[in-house]
Every structure is written in C-alpha cells, then in structure tokens.
Symmetry: C2
Subunit: 393 residues, 2 copies
C-alpha cells in the first residue's frame, strides 16, 4: 500500500472473506466460504411484484432524495414489528434505516469513538465489523467465547484493563463465526457491566430471526431501560443481501449524532430499496416467510452436521441453534491455513479462522463453514472432499 494513505489504513488488508468470495465466483468451486442466504429463500416474486407497483403508481416518489433517517412508513412499520415480535424499542428509541448492517457498525464506531479509543468485542468475531473498527483507527480488545457466548469474567477483566473503551460489540445470536448464542444470564450480566462502567453495547443481530432449534432468548436491547444499547437488524438474511437495507434502533442520547453519521456516509439509503421492503410488509406475511426460510436452514444445517459427523468425525464443532455458520475445529496435527489452501485446489472454499481473530497471526485451528449458500448436493460433495483432503495429512 502506498505511503500516501492514512496511518490508520496503512496496515489494513481487504477482508479475507470477501476476497475468497471473489475467488469463488468460479461456479465450479463449492462455496462454504460465503455468508449469503440460500437463493431459494429469496422472495423473488414478491420483490418483482412490489417493485412494479411502486414504479407504476408513483415512480417519482422512489427516485427523489429521501431523508437521512429513512423512509418514514418503513420506520413506523419496523417500530411496530420489532416491538411486537421482540419487545424491542421504547418511546426514547428511534429506528434509523441504513444501507446494510455493516453501516450500523461503521456509523456507531464513527460517532462513539476517536482515533486510538478501544472497542471490546468477542474473539473470534465478524471480520467485516473488525475492519470497520480498524478503519477508524480503533484498538480492539477481544474476549473469548464459551459455548454460551462471551466469557463474562474475561469481559469484566477486559473492561477494568481498558478504561478508554467506548463500547462492547456483540453478536448475541448464532455468533459469526462462533455459532454460539449468548445465554439470558450472560445478557443480563453484560448489560449490568456496561451500565456500571459507562459503556454502550452495540448489539449486532443479523441472524436472530434464523433460529432453527430451541427457544428465542430476549435481546439485550429489550432490557435497555437506560438507553445504552444500539441494536442492529438487517434484511440481508431474511429478504436478500443485494437490496442493502438494514436498520438501527438508536437511544435518544445518540440519535442526532447517528443521523449525522448516516448523512455524511451516504445521505440516505436508496428510496426504491426501502419502499420495496415497506410494500413487502404491507402485502405479504413477513413472519410466515421467516418461518419458511427457517425450514430451509434447519434442513441445510442438519445435513451439514450429519455429513461432518459421518465423513469428518475428527473435526469438532458445537452445533449452532441457528444462523448461517459452523465453527469447526481441525485436529491438532493439521496446519489450518495449508488445509484451506488445499481445499481451494480441490474446489472447496472455506474461511480460515484467523480471518476472525484480532491478530490474524494468532494460532488458530478453526475454519468457518457456511451451510446456507451451497446446494444440498454440494454440501455432501464438499464435506466428502474435506474428508479426503484431511486424510492426505
């Protein structure tokens, strides 16, 4: 990278996931590396129908400038839907529409921190968010995760050691990449610790609706009586990612800054895109659609787990209760990065676990597997190839 770019960008590398995604545009590669929803889960007919209606009835309304907060009918719809479905949002909260969930992460970092400040997050965590934090020149302090989410003792210690921390970043449901879900008890403990230490919680919940097993656990935002939680939800996984519509639920204290953060990022989210989502709510049963896609994911998750158990019993993982990802631990004798390279040579793409570490040079024996994007046939075939390559060692 040129010496001309900023100090905070000089050491940044493109997200390994997105670089691998690019490599896997080769249709002959079995993609366990992506994070896309299953294409059979996209409501294509609905998108087609509502788009045509919008552009028939009042095309100008979909083409003019919108306000930075988002399309007002959609904001109202989401406010009601989130309250009813998940008890999220108080009178002091506002729903702000963003262009994808990453933008909520980016805006929060921008408005809450100055260069050199610290963010506390799970380790491993979503590389896209880690890179957003890095791009603002922030220090990352990772807290290890147990099978029921962030280790709270370690969190407490990390908070004590980093008085310059501004917020805790967490993916409580079906964590990316860990697949773990933060227990109710730990959610309460995290909220209490944040409150006691003057920290904000950034609750990133793109997968919460994609539970395939067990009972929903209340979001941290639903406990937020103090206005210290910014909640991020998205339509990337329940409608489609290419439409780039997501939202933040923002407490009053941060609202003005958040709206300015959106304004300086991209003025407002595409109006047609927002109107498509709004009409989808008006004309279709979104909750019923979510139930349908849960069935697709349940089947795919079970298939991948069954194949791993059958063909790769030496690979360990904790079966997630939802989401899109499996976090799989290779046997000790395997060089993880070498294994990933050999898989690509054999036309299977997975994400090396190091991509999700705060320091990518840390030793890591994990890989992330996505079960939502590949076809059932390719899930079987891909895991068979993984088994065959394992035996080469």
């Amino acid at each position: 990278m040129s010496v001309l770019v900023s100090k905070k960008f000089a050491n940044m590398k493109p997200s390994a996931t997105r670089e691998i995604l690019k490599a896997t545009s080769d249709p002959n590669v079995i993609a366990f590396a992506g994070g896309s929803p299953a294409v059979e889960a996209f409501p294509c007919d609905a998108v087609k129908k509502v788009s045509a209606e919008i552009l028939d009835e009042n095309p100008v309304s979909a083409l003019v400038y919108g306000v930075s907060e988002g399309y007002e009918p959609l904001r109202q719809t989401l406010k009601g839907w989130l309250k009813k479905r998940s008890n999220i949002g108080t009178d002091d909260d506002s729903v702000i529409i963003t262009a994808g969930g990453t933008q909520v992460i980016d805006i929060t970092a921008r408005i809450m921190t100055d260069e050199g400040d610290t963010v506390i997050c799970e380790e491993p965590s979503f590389v896209g968010s880690l890179n957003a934090f890095r791009s603002h020149g922030l220090k990352l302090k990772g807290v290890p995760i147990d099978s029921d989410g962030m280790n709270i003792e370690a969190l407490e210690k990390t908070i004590k050691q980093n008085p310059d921390a501004k917020f805790i970043y967490t993916i409580p449901n079906f964590q990316n990449p860990g697949g773990t879900t933060l227990s109710l008890e730990k959610r309460k403990a995290m909220y209490r610790l944040a409150k006691e230490n003057g920290l904000v919680i950034l609750e990133d919940d793109p997968y919460g609706t994609l539970r395939v097993d067990g009972e929903d656990i209340p979001s941290i935002k639903s406990m937020d009586t103090d206005g210290i939680v910014i909640y991020a939800g998205s339509f990337s996984k329940i409608l489609a990612p290419g439409i780039r519509v997501a939202y933040a639920v923002v407490p009053k204290a941060f609202l003005q800054a958040f709206v300015i953060g959106k304004q300086v990022s991209d003025v407002h989210t595409g109006v047609l895109n927002q109107m498509i989502i709004q009409r989808w709510y008006e004309e279709y049963d979104v909750d019923a659609h979510i139930e349908e896609i849960r069935k697709i994911y349940r089947k795919k998750l079970n298939l991948m787990c069954d194949c791993l158990d059958k063909y790769c019993p030496e690979i360990e993982y904790v079966r997630p209760q939802g989401g899109l990802f499996l976090w799989a631990r290779l046997p000790e004798n395997i060089d993880m990065l070498d294994y990933c390279k050999r898989l690509v040579e054999n036309k299977v793409a997975v994400v090396p676990g190091t991509a999700f570490m705060i320091n990518e040079d840390s030793p890591c024996h994990y890989i992330r597997l996505n079960f939502s994007t590949p076809s059932d046939e390719n899930i079987v075939k891909g895991i068979e190839i993984m088994a065959r390559v394992l035996k080469e060692y």
Copy 2:
C-alpha cells in the same frame, strides 16, 4: 448532544440544507433550498422498464451479495463512457461504484487522513462534504473563490501554511454553492501545485454534465498523468438521486485502500440499483438524455435570472454556466439570516450562505438558490415573494 459521543462528533450539527429540506416537505413552501434535479428530468419509464426486465429475467442476480468494487458490467460501461465523453481514466485508473457521491468524499477522507489532518477546500463549499470531513476529525482550510474558481495565489499560500494537508477538495464545474467554474488555466495550476507539494486532488463533479452555456472545460482528472486525482461522478443529477448510484475514478496507488473503505462502509452498493443504471446505458441513449435535461435546466436557470433581474435588481449574482444553483448576494443593509427566516414565514425556503462556510459564524451576505426543483410558476412566485420581503427592510 450527549457527552457520550466522540470528541470529533460533539460539535457537529446536522446539515442546514437537509434540515431545511425536511422543513420544506410542506408542499406549500416554495423550495429554492433543495438540490434535487427537476422531477420532469427523471427517466421514470426507463427505470420502470429496465427494473421489470431485470427482475423478470434473473431476479436472483439482483438480490445476491455483490463485490465491493461494484457491478462489473457497469464498471466497464462507465470506464468506456468516461473515456469517450470526457477523456477520463488511464490504464492505471479503476472505476469503483459507490452509494452516491457523498460516499466518494467520505471514503477518500477516511483512507487519506488521520484525525487532526488538514483538507484544503473552496470556501464556500458543499456543506455535505464539509461535514463528512468534520466527521473524521479533520481541520478545514478554506480558499476563496473568484468568478473563475478557486483563487490560485491563495491556494498556494494555504498549501505553504499547512504542510499537514493531505488533499485539495474542489468542485470545478458550477461549484456548489458558488456556481463558478474553474478555468482551464487554474485547473492546470492547481494540478501543478498539488503535484509539487505531494497533495492529492479530490475532484467532485456531480454537475459537470449539466452545462447549459459555453464550452466544456477538460476535467483535472483528464490531465492526471501522475495518478494523484480521485474523481467523483454521480447519477443523482442525470438519472435520479433516490437511486443512490455514483462512482469514483481511483488511481492505482489508492485502489486497495479505497475498496477496503467501501467494504467497511456498506460492503457494496445495491445490486438492483447498479443493474438499473447498466441496463439504462444498454437500452437508452444516455448522452441524448443529458442533452434533454440540459434544455430543462437552461430554461429554468434563465427564468430565475430574468426574475431576479426584474424583481430583485438589488441582489447580485454571477450567472452560472450550468449546475443547479445560484449564489446570490444580498444588499449590505439586509441581515441575511433574518431575511432567510422571514422568507420561510412567507413560504419560500432558501439556504443561508453561512451553511457553506467553514465557520458558520463568519459574516456572510449570500444565500443559495436552487432553480432545478421548483416549477416555472413557483420560480416566478418565489422571486416575487423575495422582492416583497426585501422591501420590508
């Protein structure tokens, strides 16, 4: 604003323009305050037709994740179109698609600067860009503009006084709000100064295609043999702003950082949105469309100038050769902010010139008038009201 937000955000205010835009959602207010293209210039039928085709033929392709660089066919189309139309782009340049022009400004600031660095810009300048710079904690150094654009002697002095400056931000064509166009000689001088002093130029050109009078002047980017100019173009003014598609032409040295900057901002621009633009190029004559909208703007600009000359001869302005804005100087005896307030009370909205100053408390006798959004009837009516309110002083 809460003490919880970052130092760099603690003093930020929402853009006056967008706040006024919100106020003027009242349909009874004559909006001279916006920056929207004329709604009669939107190619609504084309958008409707190509959207239907995309969602008929291959809806999944419009709904899946895209790559951060942008939709490849559109990147190729723009590369060819920019070369042919404006001689922009060398083999070392890449076209990157963004969600609106502001995002080019924001990403450039993010990748080129660290908190506390300096950006040199015209004063007055587009408040949205100034706020994007402020949101990264940057210092702004303004250079006054003459009737032929940035004063070059002042620029040279500002560069000397600010060795920590990272780039020069300029709107060379029909500057917002000044309406001025940077002369060819000054473009060459600015390029030479940037090169000699190791500075990058961020050339923001959303209005360049909207010339209604005189001859096109080569862009600074077309002279960029050294790879030091990032060029920003947009479809907000030639197709429609609500679609949020713009682009940057980025030299090789900044490409990787720019793509990462896009990735951490919002992963990628909406795929359907990009495909609509691409199909528009494939099925329609974009250059012919631009000729048509130039006619609309020529008529509106002339109408507004004629009305000002007739009803408000005491208001001074330099007639712009294109763009969307008039920068009008009130008589000395008028309190500018008080006049703007009285206009709103009389159902006419204009933007106070202070909104475009680096320090909003600087004395300023100007207002910005937009002639593209209001109907012809409202242009006449609005200027009549402006004349009437002037006479109250």
